[in-house]
């Protein structure tokens, strides 16, 4: 297939684009509804498990003393990480003018928004007594509460809500011209809904002028946010003096890991998307390959970070620090450690091979491997350090229960459920930016 620098086929035209890319919004088939039903049931199962936890008490989850942060916080950090790819692909690649982003960024932005919507559930689930959730808000003191503004947990709330606000705005603003295209092509109540969402977009020169300025501004605003959010999440751990957590490298290392898992998730979503709706001409192998190359890079960064952490623990010669890193390799959770190293670093390095990174089945397997690896990475960091800190008398183990496992599985179902709804109700590939990459429809000579 011949593709241009944006990765799309040369022969595409403006009119093809609208027709092809709106295919995703056509009435759904049976397979779609079947899949959506399964996801819905899994979400319900997760919701039921949460309800049982509220009814019975937090003891239904496997977390305990000393492992007070377990599956919920692991999954929270994982989903915040997933939310990173959207801004990376959308904002950063926009600012550095990478043309192939046009066909894939909308889905990536959706991953950001839905990733944050999923992550946002976990602090509430983790709390146990969710009816007093407002106590965690970093608001001025009231009701005798004294929120600790020096706590990274309070910074988390601010950072994630800011990121959510900016990325949602960026997501919606980026869609305005496409929503207007949809508005002009549908009838009845849908026209009203999309008309409202399009906010009176007519595509005038003045609107484009303001729109472009706003888009650049939002991209520039989102870029430092993407770095700061996961840095702050990493500081939930690094600010403490728990062995294995207190490490200056945590911020860049968490950000790299977040991008790693986020990119793999985007690939995992794009592959069925392009296949199901026949839009391989727009989301081509070039796009998937470019994302795969990024994954190789992030695998190298996280692999290097693991090495540096072990080196620093050995070099620092501090007995508790050395003990925790040894424990990770040979202790009760060694299986998780070695599995994460394999799935997160070694397996994605197979993507060096062009043959492998241009094979769809290989890409799917490797991206699933990265997702497993990144979840396990968070798990190992969180659980092993708490299970095995300073005092042997305070050591303890964590075992997952049916309740917390169901909630975690439910969160995955919730994320995919949201994405599937998105694909049907909003344009999943940016029509206007794809058109920008195509040759303009000029009158043919002769």
């Amino acid at each position: 297939m011949t593709t241009d620098r944006a990765g799309m086929e040369y022969k595409l035209t403006y009119s093809d684009t609208d027709i092809d890319l709106m295919k995703t919004m056509r009435p759904a088939g049976r397979l779609y509804w079947a899949l959506l039903t399964v996801l819905f049931l899994l979400v319900m199962a997760g919701g039921w498990a949460w309800w049982m936890q509220i009814q019975t008490g937090i003891g239904l989850a496997g977390k305990n003393s000393p492992v007070g942060w377990a599956m919920y916080i692991t999954t929270f950090v994982y989903w915040v990480g997933i939310a990173h790819s959207g801004t990376l692909i959308s904002a950063i690649l926009f600012l550095v003018r990478v043309r192939w982003r046009a066909a894939v960024y909308r889905s990536a932005e959706a991953v950001t928004v839905f990733g944050l919507m999923t992550a946002g559930l976990f602090p509430f689930i983790h709390l146990g007594r969710v009816w007093v959730a407002h106590w965690i808000l970093p608001v001025p003191n009231f009701d005798g509460l004294w929120p600790n503004f020096r706590s990274p947990l309070a910074w988390d709330v601010l950072a994630i809500t800011t990121y959510m606000t900016v990325s949602s705005t960026f997501f919606l603003v980026g869609m305005l011209p496409d929503l207007a295209i949809v508005r002009d092509r549908v009838k009845g109540w849908r026209k009203k809904v999309y008309g409202f969402l399009a906010q009176g977009w007519q595509g005038t020169d003045t609107q484009w002028k303001h729109y472009t300025a706003a888009y650049v501004f939002l991209a520039a605003l989102a870029t430092p946010l993407v770095i700061s959010v996961h840095s702050i999440v990493s500081w939930d751990f690094a600010m403490s003096i728990i062995p294995g957590w207190h490490s200056t490298i945590f911020a860049p290392y968490f950000v790299a890991g977040a991008i790693h898992s986020g990119l793999a998730m985007v690939v995992l979503l794009l592959i069925p998307l392009r296949r199901s709706f026949g839009i391989e001409k727009y989301i081509t192998m070039h796009h998937l390959e470019s994302l795969a190359k990024f994954i190789v890079f992030t695998a190298l960064v996280v692999g290097f970070a693991y090495m540096v952490e072990f080196f620093a623990a050995w070099y620092g010669n501090e007995k508790y620090e050395k003990a925790i890193f040894l424990y990770r390799m040979v202790g009760e959770y060694a299986w998780a450690f070695w599995l994460l190293i394999t799935t997160n670093v070694f397996v994605p390095l197979l993507l060096w091979s062009k043959k492998i990174r241009t094979s769809i089945p290989c890409l799917v397997v490797i991206c699933i491997s990265v997702e497993i690896g990144m979840w396990l990475e968070r798990f190992v960091i969180i659980v092993t350090s708490l299970a095995h800190d300073y005092l042997p008398s305070a050591w303890g183990l964590y075992h997952p229960t049916l309740t917390d496992s169901m909630i975690v599985i439910g969160s995955f179902a919730w994320f995919f459920f949201l994405f599937m709804i998105f694909v049907k109700v909003l344009p999943a590939v940016s029509m206007w930016e794809v058109k920008e990459q195509l040759p303009p429809p000029l009158k043919e000579r002769g």
């Binding site: 690094a238 600010m239 490490s247 200056t248 070099y315």
Partner: protein, 418 residues
Amino acid sequence: MTVHRPSTPILHYPPAAAPPRLRHVLIGLTILGFVAFLAGIIVGEGQRAWQIYFVNFLFWSGIAQGGVVVAGVYGITNARWGDQFRRIGEGMVVFLPVSLLLYAVLVMGGGMLFPWLHGDTGGKEVWLSGWFLFGRDGIAFLFLAWLSGKFVAASLRPDLGLLPPRTDRSFTTWLHRRITNGWTSWDEEEILRRGRLARLTPALLISFAVLYSLIGFDLVMALDPHWVSTLYGWLFFLHAFYASLVAIAILAIVSRKWLKTEGAYSVSQWHDMGRFVFGFCLLSGGFFWSQYLVIWYGNLPSETSYLIKRFYSAPWEPLMWVYIILAYLFPLAVFLSRRVKEVPGALLTITSLILLALFLERFIAVVPFVWTAATIPFGIGEILVTLGFAALFVLCWMWFAARVPIIPASAGTVTSHH
């Protein structure tokens, strides 16, 4: 802006020698720097002489190595706007063999800089023994210089074949022939170049990140063998990269006149360069902050000694603030303006200040470890040694620019509509 790519390769910007007066001044400064260093040792100021030598060695070697890496980054990311800049970075390779000689000299002063070499190393007697420490870092420098040389030779090959054949019996002619041996045609060589660089660039970038982290841990962090920061290695190589980037911008701007490359750069390319520097200002600022905040918050005595000495104690505190303001806060504020990034004069001013700040960073990182008096050891001797290193670095780069087309033929010519 329209970029015209030549169907047949034309070297619009052939190599050009720098004005003789400039070369003479730089040679004079290099000699003066060398004399000042020797004088420092002879008059009993060995500690000061070695420490400023060490700071300059780290700073200029880092820039030279980072310059080649920046060129690799332009290539691997297909950043075509950087075609006009990448060879400026590649030109810094000439300093790397010189830097190996400077390292050999540095090893002689190791005892002055690493007084613990025969003392307490906190249980790391083998890892931090003199022969092992300087040996492995020497191998790291040697390997990086070799790999960079291979990278630059592969990158230059298509364009060197376009130059008129040399007939004199000089080192340049030998090198030229060696690089262009078996040269067929520019088109074919250009395809081969891409293939070779596709293999060499990842190796170069990975080696730089790993080995410069090691060098950062060994040569700076280990100045206090009891202090550990996991991030320090990354911060060290990131600062080298950031300094190289601003050095490339500075050289591109100041050399335009004698290399007659004014027409090679468009407004949008200056803007892109400014944006690139701005991005790395944010990134390295983020790294710097990440290290500071975690140590400050953890408040562990084994870690805070580094911060207390530099951030909260005389005489280093004001210097630290100058560094923070010039390297991060000032560029962060001024680079928000599009205009500033588009005007070479403004870009030159800002990047020069950043370069100064990054020199200060190396100074503040190294000297407080080894200098115990309550004064900042920066006098006329230090200024002369620093100028000597800077002059030697620029001379090496000018040697390259006088022999190699500094704008690659593949970059084409740029016409700006503004």
